[in-house]
Symmetry: C2
Amino acid sequence: MAQNRRDFLKTSGLLAGAALAGIPNSIYSKPNINFTKVGKMKLTFKPYDLTLKHAFTIATSTRTTTPVMLTEIEYEGVVGYGEASMPPYLGESQASAAEFLGKVNLEQFPDPFDMENILDYVDKIAEKNPAAKASVDIALHDLVGKLMNQPWFKIWGYDKYRSPYTSFTIGIDTPEVVRQKVREADIYKILKVKLGRDNDKQMIETIREITDKPICVDANQGWTDRVKALDMAYWLKEKGITFIEQAMPKENIDGNAWLTENSPLPTFGDESVQRLPDVIKAHKVYSGINIKLMKSTGMREAHKMLTLARGLGMKVMLGCMTETSCAISAASHLSPMVDFADLDGAVLISNDCFIGTTIEDGKISLTDRPGIGAIKK
Amino acid sequence: MAQNRRDFLKTSGLLAGAALAGIPNSIYSKPNINFTKVGKMKLTFKPYDLTLKHAFTIATSTRTTTPVMLTEIEYEGVVGYGEASMPPYLGESQASAAEFLGKVNLEQFPDPFDMENILDYVDKIAEKNPAAKASVDIALHDLVGKLMNQPWFKIWGYDKYRSPYTSFTIGIDTPEVVRQKVREADIYKILKVKLGRDNDKQMIETIREITDKPICVDANQGWTDRVKALDMAYWLKEKGITFIEQAMPKENIDGNAWLTENSPLPTFGDESVQRLPDVIKAHKVYSGINIKLMKSTGMREAHKMLTLARGLGMKVMLGCMTETSCAISAASHLSPMVDFADLDGAVLISNDCFIGTTIEDGKISLTDRPGIGAIKK
């Protein structure tokens, strides 16, 4: 995380300098201000289980449900909605989220607009727990956007009509199931294909038999040999693939950097890039990064990651877990500024309990409703 | 500047990939949407000359006035205020600003909230002209903040009570005048001393005779020998100086990087760091950067520079030119997130035509008024 001013003053010796010069340290610190207390924020949460339309297989696992935690922050009669989506292989659960959220005391903050301080406090409650933290961040953004009566794409100054087409994800499966999924993905202009097992070429060839749509691939760290990965990149380029996501294990920094340098296709880091400090580490290792709210601890840090990656000249894609239209809507406010989006999480489930950002003829379509723009069904 | 999505698609071959796969390029581009036109933005501007209370000397020049251009953007009866401050040595003038602003047509944008597109358009009208561009950016921020009925520190999620103390700048002068200026700076908790001529040690010793306040120094590229610069850094540390700004010429990247690596005091780049791409270039050359709205083209890019520098682990200070309380107020909304601020520009002039952010007992004090919080006197 970025240093705050006081941390900087401590570590840089400015406070020491002040002491040296006979000036009390307190001139640099936050004074005790009596805030006008107009209300208190109250956080509530409840577990919810998403039912997947199809069993979903990636390089490392298969599942049919995704546990989530739905959050609400109420302030002066206004309610903000949030969500934590926790695919089990990522280490969080409804139990861990409940434990984390039980420690979050928002009543101490008189002003919901004080987002930097509030989310800094939430982040420091415990390590990890990125999805649980995101569920607070999203609900807070929804609340504050509603208090401003503006959607976040407007607050951030973005043009919602610039949002990209989303890809639709095809999991690893038998040729028959893959063909069926591709046919079901009729409205989508771009497909994202999960690779990384032993049938990579078969997957691509099966899909190419029935469609010439742009395809991007996600190996989910499934390739381990850099030379084979590069051979695969050349083969994929011939098949009209647009980019490769997380080709090799995230620990293999040299291998991923070598592949990026030599690959005819752009590469994106996903598992490698969780939070803000990871963006710098991904510079020159990947062509771009995949930002997901459930990794980044929510919208605020995701927005910073986007700005940082752009400043470094990196490409940016926006991804998701299987999520309701609550978390998908939250992420969609960043979409006008990304090169590529994979926000199909809500259409992969059969029990979405929110209405929000939708996918219209394959394109991400944001509403003008304030906050994140999600309302309960 | 960061690539936009379409530029990325062009250069990355995604458009080519789409064409290859038989998908029309238009799926990636912005569709022709019929916006609901509710109003038109109208930009007006007029020159104004700031009168300096004292003739001001830095390493490279002396002056008694500063030409500015005051701007207004009116939309549906709401008016946003902006300002370009143009010290002559930086290359802009009231004539160049008038020429630039005469080309800005905001009437084509139906929604003031569409800030990324609007300011991207303004930036591409002509190269350079950073202060003229800032005068549009600031007026637009003021307008949009007023439309949201919120001050920008709240929109950005910052806590105004974290704003730092500002330094007060002491120009290069005779010991007698320097002593007088230091006495006049009684309310300020930190002094910023201009160095870089042949009387550096005399300047510091003169000030240290009458005050033990923290001092930072700005050499304005005035030091040319890296070894002498390092000797000076050690001498300055003994005198209780907190950091050194722009020690050597900005072209001397190796020299500045060497000084930063070896200096006992943090270093800041100022002339070296104008806009967003310069932040990356300053990484590992300086400990931190000095952000000024009149260099960065305004608040939006300054905010991105702040985020980028923080992400890179760099320190950040916020500076200004001699400006009215209009541009000073605009900059002050970033101040809760910086390590150090030098926002004394409005107190150095005798004909400030705005009331906005003030300096209370040396501390930057933001108001809760919407937008940038500046009102006309």
